[in-house]
């Protein structure tokens, strides 16, 4: 009898992170989600995503139908119809391209078709401006799309997978955008740990629409002509309630994602140092990294300041935000979008935050910091913002509500 062969000790090697751009990571998420139909039309920064998906399909890594449309409008029409027949779809655009697709997008929302897309945020062109601004994604707030906002490339990949799960849930059945800060996330490669195919298959069941447009299932008509007086308000109420229900679905989905994939995120709002904070800086997306860097340094100097990061813009986590910011003396909103001639000449994120906080018992004072036209702020600008918010908390009165800290010339 031969001796028992010694079993070598099992070594589990830690996986090496892949260095992927946001565009590449999104493409990997699309592959992992086993998407059936992708519609594409180039516009920077979305082009990077489209190229990455096309390369995967061309290399035979991933089988899906990719349709390069003749315009963004057609692009969004293609996925709307494909999704209505029961296909899982992916789409995306940026800036003025997204604007051109608005008609198709709003029918997608009102028709409750769970399309998932990515907006690589881009300034609305003064010709050629491809800098990072949020106005393109913010302008889609009215269409019945869910909108979420990742902080880094890893979260962008995770968010796309969760977006399919939330959008296709029968309690929601609404389209979903993931908005990536253009350039800062779409085109910067950073280390990413992708989930495995098995993990994703367990987390994300196949898309099964309740009624799909397929002769095999019997005849149905989708998004028929609406007589306003007959079902206009009722149609919209269903979506209103879907957005309400989406909140519980989002919480469930992120819990499940942590269970299957092992990465945890707070569902709606990520806070840091808020337990004892008297003032706070609030924002979304990639620039939170610099804001957190600045705030951590200010805390070392003894300033009681915290950070608040919104992960969802639609549905907007108003109650959760009130809970986080009640009792805080002053908050600075840092944002990259604008609405000319708006109340107090402030930006759209400020409007959302101010509306939510109006219901708080102890309302913090607010200041808005605008970074427009694609010029990037540096940590020094966030230090300036924190100092101004601190002065506001101490009772200083400011002449304006909104400040343009990167502007050359007088900020009147």
């Amino acid at each position: 009898m031969s001796a028992v062969r010694p079993v070598p000790p099992i070594t589990i090697e830690k996986p090496v992170a892949k260095v992927w751009t946001g565009a590449r990571a999104i493409a990997e998420a699309v592959k992992l989600a086993d998407v059936d139909v992708i519609a594409a039309y180039p516009i920077r920064p979305y082009t990077g995503i489209m190229n990455a998906i096309a390369a995967m399909i061309a290399d035979g890594e991933f089988q899906a139908e990719i349709i390069v449309a003749d315009s963004e409008h057609s692009q969004f029409e293609v996925v709307k119809h494909a999704a209505a027949t029961g296909a899982r779809v992916f789409v995306g655009s940026s800036g003025v391209g997204l604007m051109y697709a608005y008609e198709a997008m709003l029918v997608t929302g009102l028709g409750s078709v769970p399309v998932v897309g990515v907006v690589g945020t881009r300034a609305l062109d003064d010709p050629g401006n491809f800098g990072m601004e949020w106005t393109d994604a913010f302008t889609t707030r009215y269409f019945g799309w869910l909108i979420s906002w990742p902080r880094d490339v890893q979260e962008a990949l995770d968010m796309v997978l969760v977006a399919y799960r939330v959008a296709e849930d029968h309690r929601v059945l609404q389209p979903h955008f993931v908005a990536l800060d253009g350039a800062a996330l779409t085109h910067v490669a950073m280390p990413v740990y992708p989930p495995t195919k098995k993990q994703v298959t367990e987390f994300l069941p196949p898309y099964r629409p309740p009624y799909r447009i397929d002769p095999m299932d019997g005849p149905v008509t989708k998004a028929q002509h609406i007589a306003p007086s007959l079902i206009g308000p009722e149609q919209r109420k269903r979506i209103d309630v879907a957005m309400l229900k989406a909140k519980e679905v989002i919480i469930e989905a992120w819990k499940d994602y942590a269970r299957y994939v092992g990465r945890e995120y707070p569902p709606f709002i990520e806070t840091k140092w808020m337990d004892d904070a008297e003032i706070a800086l609030l924002s979304m997306g990639a620039y939170m990294k610099d804001i957190e860097l600045v705030v951590s340094k200010l805390r070392e100097k003894g300033l009681k300041i915290g950070t608040v990061r919104l992960r969802y813009l639609r549905p907007f986590p108003a109650e959760e935000l009130v809970k986080v910011l009640s009792g805080v003396k002053a908050v600075g909103v840092i944002e990259f979008g604008f609405s000319f001639g708006s109340p107090y000449r402030t930006g759209p994120l400020y409007h959302e935050v101010a509306t939510a906080l109006y219901e708080a018992d102890e309302r913090p004072k607010l200041l808005d910091f605008l970074f427009l036209g694609g010029r990037e702020p540096k940590p020094e600008h966030f230090i300036k913002a924190a100092e101004m918010v601190n002065e506001l908390a101490k009772g200083k009165t400011f002449e304006k509500k909104a400040y343009w800290l990167t502007l050359r010339g007088e900020d009147i």
Partner: protein, 380 residues
């Protein structure tokens, strides 16, 4: 009359960035986008294998779909983490760059995509890696004349990449390892496995072995560039008046004559002087717009042999940049991008392309690219 004031421009240094390691590469758009991307991707992946958080990206402002546009890629290596957001428009100020990788030697004598000097933002012990057939000494003398105006106690590494591999990225990676210690050859070879580029291991090894390394010790004051460049710019004194074309022209001239990045940024106008409706005041008839020069895109230039020229004006008509004067026929090198259309349309073959480095310095670099259509990468 516009009153001008002299200013010595300054941009605050960025300590969070200086704590990181940077490998910056300069390449010719379209022709070399894929090379610079591969170069950066492999080095970043190798750094991750060695336990450093590492990013790579292309400068977002660059539009490599335009032929010959200079472009920049960055690899950023944490110590070991990266706690700061990496902005796309990294200001080349202070001591950032550990390695400056130059894919085509014309960037030794021209400014970068950011209209900066090649050494703006370099650490004092930076390594300059050049894809060239020129000797390290020739590279050093070019740099002193055109693109170095600060202290430099580092290394020059030269490598003639295309003799090893048509994909010049891989020999360049090997050469870079000779002047940068955080990443070793083993890590790069593992990164190539991860990225499915096993076949390129040999090219990297050969680049490592064949690179020529030379130590450098130069003080800023010893460089011709430092001696000849102006260190101040003149911009209009703001007097509260808006939308005045003369003020606009003064800013435009300051930007056009800026010699480095800091000067160019200081020459950008404040909002009050912009005319409403995105108006730019154009050049007077017959002049060209000094606010939009494209001459620094060029790695080769057309030279007209007037003995053969029959003055047919075809080159003037076909020049896509309007860079050839009508009467007499003459190339305005402030605007010529070196595309070669004039050579193609000339019926008497009176125009020839010459390497920029040859025209300026009488040197011939075998690595200055010939067009490589199959390697081109478009789109962004």
């Amino acid at each position: 009359m516009v009153r001008l004031v002299k200013v010595k421009p300054h941009i605050e240094r960025f300590p969070e960035y200086e704590e990181l390691d940077w490998i910056v590469s300069h390449a010719i758009g379209v022709d070399q986008t894929s090379d610079a991307m591969r170069f950066s991707q492999v080095l970043a992946q190798a750094a991750v294998i060695r336990g450093y958080e590492s990013y790579y990206y292309m400068r977002y402002d660059d539009s490599p779909e335009r032929n010959y546009l200079p472009m920049i890629y960055y690899v950023v290596i944490g110590n070991p983490k990266i706690n700061v957001l990496l902005r796309e428009e990294i200001e080349p100020v202070g001591h950032l760059f550990n390695v400056i990788a130059v894919f085509s030697s014309n960037y030794l004598i021209q400014r970068t995509a950011q209209r900066a000097l090649l050494f703006d933002g370099a650490k004092t012990n930076a390594t300059l890696v050049v894809n060239t057939s020129l000797s390290p000494d020739a590279v050093i003398s070019l740099v002193k004349k055109y693109s170095l105006a600060q202290d430099w106690n580092g290394k020059v590494v030269t490598i003639s990449s295309s003799k090893i591999d048509k994909s010049i990225a891989f020999p360049m990676i090997g050469a870079t390892l000779r002047g940068y210690e955080k990443i070793d050859l083993d890590a790069v070879l593992r990164a190539l496995d991860i990225l499915g580029l096993e076949k390129k291991k040999d090219s990297v090894r050969k680049g490592y072995e064949q690179a020529v390394v030379k130590e450098v010790n130069i003080r800023a004051e010893e460089t011709e560039k430092f001696k000849t460049m102006k260190h101040e710019i003149e911009i209009p004194e703001f007097d509260g008046k808006y939308w005045n074309p003369e003020v606009y022209y003064a800013y435009q001239k300051a930007a056009a004559t800026a010699e480095n990045y800091v000067q160019r940024i200081a020459a950008m106008p404040r909002w009050e002087v912009l005319a409403p409706g995105l108006i730019e005041f154009g050049p007077k008839p017959g002049d060209r717009n000094i606010g939009f020069t494209t001459g620094e895109w060029r790695f080769q230039r057309p030279v007209i042999n007037y003995k053969k020229c029959i003055d047919c004006k075809l080159c003037h008509l076909y020049c896509p940049d309007g860079a050839i004067d009508f009467n007499p026929i003459k190339v305005d090198y402030r605007f010529c991008t070196g595309c070669g259309v004039c050579v193609t349309v000339c019926p008497t073959k009176a125009i020839e392309m010459m390497q920029e480095i040859q025209a300026m310095e009488g040197l011939i670099d075998e690595e200055v690219p010939v067009k490589r259509f199959e390697e081109r990468e478009y789109g962004y």
